[in-house]
């Protein structure tokens, strides 16, 4: 683990063509890191995320992605992701390949990746059309009951990027609140970048079962206060629901989207999220 600036971490650990998992289930979405990837012009990424929301809408709209692996692509509680739809429906700014799963499948696939398994076995997809359009969904039989169970390959991203509340001087990272699949994504990935609200001398008094990613499981820890905005960081700042609502209008047309990205991301200083 090294403490790096976000720019340096992205430069060193995110390459064109990588499979990149940026997780955060509504909470702790790593916007600052995603914006840095956009600014550095990374291309041909396979973006993996259960809930591609505004961040992936932005990254897709800016042409960073060749493929999207996901299970729910919307602006939560608001409506469509217009840039995601424009890419899928009209190939703008470039065609995007989609690999589509259910939430249960992706959660299990991350868990299996963290556990070093080649695949995840669960009860899923029964009676649905998804297995017809995703050849990565297989079925096998329980050797004890004969029940048919769903099986998907585990997720093993090249790099996982997550945001968290704080790290200590050894780079041990503590996460609290809605945990999503961040721990699994980090442990499943070959490399991991964590942006944090603050770096502290000691993690301090905490539950003996606090959710902690030891520094030796990470490639880089980057200080990025506010790095989850307009998502939120439990204990630090709230979710900017008004911005999620406003995004619908900003992103609906290509021009207003590009203009917003230019002003708020491309020309913004590194490490800063909106």
């Amino acid at each position: 683990m090294e403490f790096l600036s976000l720019g340096e971490a992205v430069e060193r650990f995110v390459a064109d063509g990588d499979q990149v998992a940026m997780e955060g289930f509504t909470h702790l979405i790593p916007f600052a890191a995603g914006h840095e990837i956009i600014r550095r012009g990374r291309r041909e990424l396979t973006l993996i995320r259960m809930t591609p929301d505004l961040l992936y809408d932005q990254m897709i709209g800016m042409g960073t992605a060749r493929r999207l692996v996901f299970s729910w692509g919307g602006n939560p509680g608001v409506g469509s992701l217009h840039r995601f739809r424009d890419a899928v429906e009209n190939g703008w700014p470039a065609p995007i390949e989609i690999v589509e799963h259910s939430h249960a499948a992706m959660a299990n696939a991350y868990e299996a990746g963290a556990a070093g398994m080649p695949c995840a076995v669960f009860r899923g997809y029964r009676g649905t059309d998804l297995p017809e359009v995703n050849p990565g969904i297989r079925f096998l039989r329980c050797p004890f009951t004969g029940e048919e169970l769903a099986c998907v390959a585990s997720l093993r991203p090249d790099v996982a990027i997550v945001h968290a509340q704080k790290a200590d001087r050894e780079g041990n990272v503590m996460v609290e609140g809605i945990l999503g699949v961040q721990k699994e994504a980090v442990l499943a990935a070959r490399r991991a970048i964590v942006t944090v609200e603050e770096v502290v001398d000691e993690l301090g008094p905490r539950s003996p079962n606090a959710v902690i990613l030891p520094g030796w499981t990470l490639s880089a820890v980057c200080l990025a206060p506010g790095g989850a905005r307009p998502s939120y960081a439990h204990g630090y700042y709230g979710r900017d629901n008004a911005f999620y609502l406003a995004w619908d209008a900003i992103s609906r047309e290509r021009e207003s989207f590009l203009e917003w990205m230019r002003r708020n991301v491309l020309e913004a200083p590194p490490g800063e999220a909106r």
């Binding site: 289930f25 509504t26 909470h27 259960m50 809930t51 996901f70 299970s71 729910w72 692509g73 919307g74 939560p76 509680g77 608001v78 469509s80 992701l81 995601f84 739809r85 899928v88 429906e89 589509e100 799963h101 259910s102 939430h103 249960a104 959660a107 299990n108 991350y110 868990e111 669960f122 009860r123 899923g124 997809y125 029964r126 009676g127 649905t128 059309d129 998804l130 359009v133 029940e147 048919e148 609140g177 809605i178 945990l179 999503g180 699949v181 721990k183 699994e184 939120y232 439990h234 709230g238 979710r239 629901n241 008004a242 999620y244 609502l245």
Partner: protein, 258 residues
């Protein structure tokens, strides 16, 4: 007290929930109905969101499935793999609450695409938790606005299994849970016909005619032998709902939030 058809829909859905239920809540209309039930007749109702929050008691409706309020008011919050494995797949949930872009007569749902999958006319969000919610919860309630565009003869894509394309798939697939037992719309409620599992109209909301329902349904909709009138929202129900929505709009910084 006068009320809108959307209010009628939310109130009718809320009433279906009992105090002993453990409910897996989808965002939007389901969330409004579940929280209304909790704030009115079913204070013991336990709400679980797929973001991992268990027994959450939000004072406002969350905009997303993982708003801060959900975690802050929860008994505890677990990771997403755990919520899908131990709590949903583990069979701990009595009621799952879903919506969709399209529904067919067997209450199968489409939230994936309008048009062909490879070249969609409209790309919808996808399954999210719905595919496995529909199979693992004891029973499923569906809440959707009714129209010919959404209540269709044939789904463009079957994202979430209701009773299957023939109405009999659940048993054939060895799925022991009940599946959709109630559809609540802004016009009526529907329940599965015994034997066929086709959703038929069980009650009409006050002032709604059979013709309106027929007009708004893409398949030749059928009616139960006895069709009741849905009881109109009581003043207490409406007040609780409006208070909740007003608090929510203030919290989200917009009057537009649902």
């Amino acid at each position: 007290m006068s009320y809108t058809s959307a209010e009628m829909m939310t109130v009718a859905a809320a009433r279906a929930l009992g105090g002993g239920d453990i409910c897996f809540v989808g965002i939007g209309l389901p969330s409004a109905a579940c929280n209304l039930a909790r704030l009115t007749h079913a204070p013991g109702l336990r709400l679980i969101y797929e973001s991992g929050t268990i027994e959450t008691r939000p004072d406002t409706l969350p905009l997303s499935i993982g708003d801060p309020e959900l975690c802050q008011t929860a008994l505890t919050t677990v990771g997403v793999p755990e919520i899908f494995r131990y709590w949903l797949q583990g069979g701990r949930i009595t009621v799952g609450f879903l919506g969709g872009a399209q529904i067919d007569r067997y209450a199968n749902l489409n939230t994936t695409v309008i048009g062909p999958y490879s070249r969609p006319k409209v790309r919808l969000p996808g399954s999210g938790g719905a595919s496995e919610i529909a199979a693992s919860c004891g029973k499923i309630f569906i809440i959707m606005r009714q129209s010919r565009r959404s209540f269709v003869e044939r789904l463009d894509f079957l994202t979430t299994l209701g009773h299957g394309r023939s109405g009999a798939e659940r048993r054939a697939l060895g799925i022991a849970t009940q599946g959709p037992v109630l559809v609540v719309t802004d016009l009526c409620t529907m329940t599965p016909e015994p034997e066929t599992n086709e959703m038929i109209v069980a009650s009409l909301h006050p002032g709604v005619s059979r013709e309106q329902v027929v007009e708004s349904t893409g398949w030749p909709v059928r009616f139960a032998p006895v069709v009741n009138e849905t009881p109109a929202p009581a003043a207490a129900e409406l007040e609780a709902l409006r208070d909740l929505q007003a608090r929510t709009a203030r919290a989200h910084g917009s009057a537009g939030a649902e």
